[in-house]
């Protein structure tokens, strides 16, 4: 019989890898808070640009609010995607993650959790405020918030695949947008659709459940795709 090392023993709970990776990335994000706030400020500013470009017409603004808020949230998340792997790739941490005893999909999952907590969640939290600028009522604001809460994890997950595939490639940020944006379309449709159906007096539940379904199925499959992409990029 083989004698287990303490480390092997501890690994009876490999899911700890998720926590280790998430804790590490959150700690790093907290050390460079300036960067954290930038994505949020970007979201707020770009949403505020639309009334300036279109004019302060309340009816029109309310009509376009769901689309504007969602497209801006999508772009804000897109801009933060390089943060997921870029630095780790450059400083050699990514190689150490691949060689860890923890399964790579779990470590990637942890990184995605940290990314969502530091980008998608803050964007979702300020979104009702942005909705107010466009004259949405309380119920609509709640749907905006709920939609982003369910949808931004999907944005992080699909984005992580693109971010991992384009590591170290020339002009990777634009390339990443090219790969990721088409995949974002269903999230955009269901997210904005939820708000619009509330506005027209319909129930938002159908759209929100579709977002939840995307998020849940993503959680099962995406970490494996991201892990595969990371390995491909390091080869």
């Amino acid at each position: 019989m083989k004698v287990q090392t303490p480390a092997e023993f501890e690994l009876q709970t490999p899911e700890r890898g998720l926590l280790v990776a998430a804790a590490r990335d959150i700690k790093l994000a907290m050390r460079s808070r300036g960067e954290l706030v930038q994505a949020l400020v970007f979201f707020v500013i770009v949403v505020s640009l639309f009334p300036l470009a279109i004019g302060p017409e309340t009816v029109l603004l309310k009509r376009i609010a769901p689309g504007v808020v969602w497209v801006c949230a999508l772009l804000a998340v897109l801009l933060t995607l390089p943060r997921l792997f870029q630095q780790d790739y450059l400083d050699g941490t990514l190689e150490q993650l691949v060689l860890s005893r923890y399964p790579l999909p779990l470590l990637c999952g942890g990184k995605m959790v940290a990314h969502w907590l530091t980008t998608g969640l803050p964007v979702a939290l300020v979104s009702p405020l942005m909705g107010l600028q466009f004259g949405l009522d309380a119920k609509e604001l709640l749907v905006v918030f709920a939609g982003l809460l369910l949808g931004t994890p999907v944005l992080t997950m699909l984005g992580a695949i693109g971010a991992a595939l384009t590591l170290g490639v020339r002009g990777s940020s634009i390339l990443m947008a090219l790969l990721v944006l088409p995949l974002y379309i269903p999230v955009l449709i269901f997210g904005a659709g939820a708000v619009e159906s509330t506005m027209t007096g319909l129930d938002a539940a159908a759209n929100l459940s579709l977002l939840a379904a995307l998020a849940l199925s993503g959680m099962v499959a995406v970490p494996f795709a991201v892990a595969a992409a990371v390995k491909i990029s390091l080869d």
Binding site: K2, V3, T5, P6, A7, E8, E10, L11, P14, V20, R24, K27, L28, R31, S32, Q87, L90, D91, G92, T93, E95, Q96, L97, V98, L99, S100, R101, Y102, P103, L104, L234, D235
Partner: protein, 211 residues
């Protein structure tokens, strides 16, 4: 801890159209060190990354204890420790935090006292609070050495480990690797320096392939 053997069987690697090496075979037994030598660009780093399982070969296999490395689970594959050119350190974290994070990823439980003692061994106790951005290249290398000192992995793959180290640092590195070999560990080291190790040492001189 079980002893580990590392075997390369007819390894071939291409970069683009060019062969870096072809049909490279060797075996490293417990307690042995293999020193990789050869001019720049001959494929030493690529070979180490292949042995670590980070890259796929264009032919041949790497065996860890007679099992194909590519087939092993992360848990078993992680008998291999790879230290590359990059130090895997974070600019924002202090020396001690960096070490703690690396050990957490290596699934090695340590107390703060153990980490501080190890940092003392590598001469960084006074700099434990300094963030990565403000450490010198040699000091970063020394954090990597602290990780080696606490590592439980059997196979060490070190890429130019003496880079940026001063004489005392090189002496400490030799001592660390020797202790590892004495415990029955394995080391594969790519270097341009003469490394006077005490244990059994093999050399592999790599040459450019022209064909």
């Amino acid at each position: 801890m079980t002893a580990a053997r590392l075997r390369a069987a007819a390894l071939t690697l291409k970069r683009g159209e060019r062969f870096l090496f072809a049909d490279l075979s060797f075996e490293v037994l417990p307690g042995e060190a293999l020193i990789l030598r050869g001019p720049n660009g001959v494929g030493k780093t690529s070979l180490l990354r292949l042995l670590a399982g980070l890259a796929a070969s264009d032919g041949g296999e790497v065996y860890l204890n007679d099992q194909k490395l590519a087939m092993l689970s992360p848990l078993h594959r992680a008998a291999v420790l790879y230290v590359g050119h990059a130090n895997a350190l974070k600019d924002e974290l202090s020396a001690e935090e960096n070490l703690a994070d690396q050990l957490a990823l290596d699934t090695i439980n340590t107390t703060l006292a153990v980490r501080l003692e190890t940092l003392n061994q590598v001469g960084l106790l006074g700099r434990r609070q300094v963030i990565g951005r403000k450490l010198s290249q040699g000091q970063k290398r020394r954090i990597g050495m602290a990780r080696l000192l606490l590592s439980d992995r059997r196979v060490w793959l070190l890429d130019e480990p003496t880079n940026a180290l001063d004489d005392a640092g090189v002496a400490l590195l030799l001592q660390t690797v020797d202790a590892h070999l004495t415990r029955g560990g394995i080391a594969v080291i790519a270097t341009h320096l003469a490394l006077p190790l005490q244990g059994r040492v093999k050399e592999l001189v790599m040459q450019e392939i022209t064909r």
